[in-house]
């Protein structure tokens, strides 16, 4: 069901939930929320749990960092409860984001932003163009790197110097991007794309009953986790 929800509806609910979470400093609200999100994914979505855990891992570590930072550098009012709350918040946010990422097709997301949330087609289609160029840009990255290696450019070992050395690849890539943008825009205009607001869509993204059901689920979860916070 989560897969069938409209991407914009999901996006709005996730954003609202996150902002709501920001006002709670007790450990129970984010914990209940986190558990709820995981149950929702088990019940209503197909998730590749192995990838899920891999993507979750860095944030689990980040949550630990948050925990001890709040313990050591917290203000007078913070307790272990506050520290737990902030680390659970990191987990709740990450699980919610992964729920979105795992149940939404990237292209559908942009199409839906354009059709439901009135994002300008000029911007929406440009983002899709950029997205299409990803594999090309990836190949180009390796080509530039290899070409430079052939000419004897060495990659420095120390991390800071290595980051600074990225500019040798970045600048040719950006120069290439400028040229690609020109050619692509020309091709789009040649095919009659003007980017005006009123247009038809070959692939329509709609709001359906799955969205109503999903909305109810999100609301129950949000209210439930807030209630857990007040009751404790």
């Amino acid at each position: 069901m989560l897969h069938r929800m409209n991407p914009s509806v999901k996006f709005v609910f996730i954003t609202v939930s996150m902002i709501a979470m920001a006002f709670f400093f007790n450990p129970w609200t984010p914990l209940v929320f986190f558990t709820g999100v995981i149950f929702m994914q088990i019940a209503f979505a197909k998730i590749a749990w192995k990838t899920w855990s891999l993507m979750m891992l860095p944030f689990l570590l980040g949550a630990i960092g948050y925990f001890w930072t709040t313990l050591v550098f917290g203000n007078e009012d913070s307790t272990i409860g506050t520290a737990l709350s902030l680390s659970f918040r990191v987990l709740a946010f990450s699980s919610l984001s992964l729920l979105f990422v795992f149940t939404t097709k990237p292209v559908d997301f942009i199409m839906s932003l354009m059709q439901q949330l009135k994002l300008s087609p000029k911007i929406a289609y440009s983002i899709l163009v950029g997205y299409q160029f990803l594999p090309v840009l990836k190949d180009e990255f390796f080509q530039i790197q290899q070409a430079q290696q052939l000419r004897g450019v060495e990659v420095p070992k120390p991390p800071v110097k290595r980051v600074l050395a990225m500019r040798h690849v970045l600048i040719p890539m950006l120069a290439g991007a400028v040229r690609k943008a020109e050619r692509t825009a020309f091709a789009m205009e040649a095919r009659g794309f003007t980017g005006e607001g009123k247009r038809d869509f070959y692939r329509k993204i709609s709001v359906s009953r799955a969205d109503a059901a999903g909305a109810v689920l999100f609301l129950i979860l949000l209210i439930g986790s807030m209630a857990a916070g007040f009751l404790s």
């Binding site: 930072t69 550098f73 942009i110 000029k122 943008a181």
Partner: protein, 190 residues
């Protein structure tokens, strides 16, 4: 606002957003690893990286929106690539972009020099800090610690996004590929 935009300028923003979206994601992972060791302050000193596309695109196109739109697009690309920060990145992108945009708007899009770029980087840092303060629950941390985070983030914004952005734009200008954009039409070193 979008009426005055040529399609090639919008596509340029998007392609830059893709390139920097990837870089942003890389640094997000670097930040995460650091953060597990030294806590949320780990992100602060590299924060300027995440503002850089605003400054670069604004320096090239010099139009209202050229800071906030590419930053938002880069965030959208990061979401499309899939990561566990997800949709709230888009909100963060809008807010950071607005911070940089505010500085350029205050000069009425007339002055483009390294000082303004540094201010724009700092502006993005201030805006993003307010947002981070709320979502990250910094209210639970002691004032001194939050202040330290704030100062590091603003400096990172000014140095990495401001000076770094200026450096990259100048290097890109030297390649000659920016002919036909605002940066070469007006006095580039105003």
């Amino acid at each position: 606002m979008l009426k005055s935009w040529k399609l090639k300028e919008v596509v340029l923003m998007s392609l830059f957003a893709v390139v920097f979206g990837i870089i942003y994601l890389l640094f997000l992972h670097v930040g995460n690893i650091w953060a597990s060791l030294i806590g949320p302050i780990a992100y602060e000193w590299i924060f300027g990286i995440w503002f850089i596309v605003s400054i670069i695109v604004m320096a090239i196109l010099r139009k209202p929106g050229a800071a906030v739109i590419p930053e938002t697009m880069a965030a959208a690309i990061e979401v499309m690539l899939g990561n566990a920060v997800g949709p709230r990145l888009i909100l963060a992108g809008v807010i950071q972009g607005l911070g940089a945009e505010a500085v350029f708007a205050a000069t009425r899009y007339r002055h483009f020099n390294v000082g303004i770029y540094m201010l724009a980087g700092a502006g993005a840092a201030v805006f993003s800090f307010v947002y981070g303060y709320l979502l990250g629950g910094f209210a639970a941390l002691s004032t001194e610690y939050v202040l330290l985070m704030f100062v590091i983030r603003v400096m990172s914004g000014a140095i990495i996004a401001g000076i770094g952005g200026k450096y990259l734009v100048d290097a890109l200008l030297a390649t000659g590929s920016l002919r036909g954009y605002a940066i070469t039409k007006r006095d580039a070193h105003a």
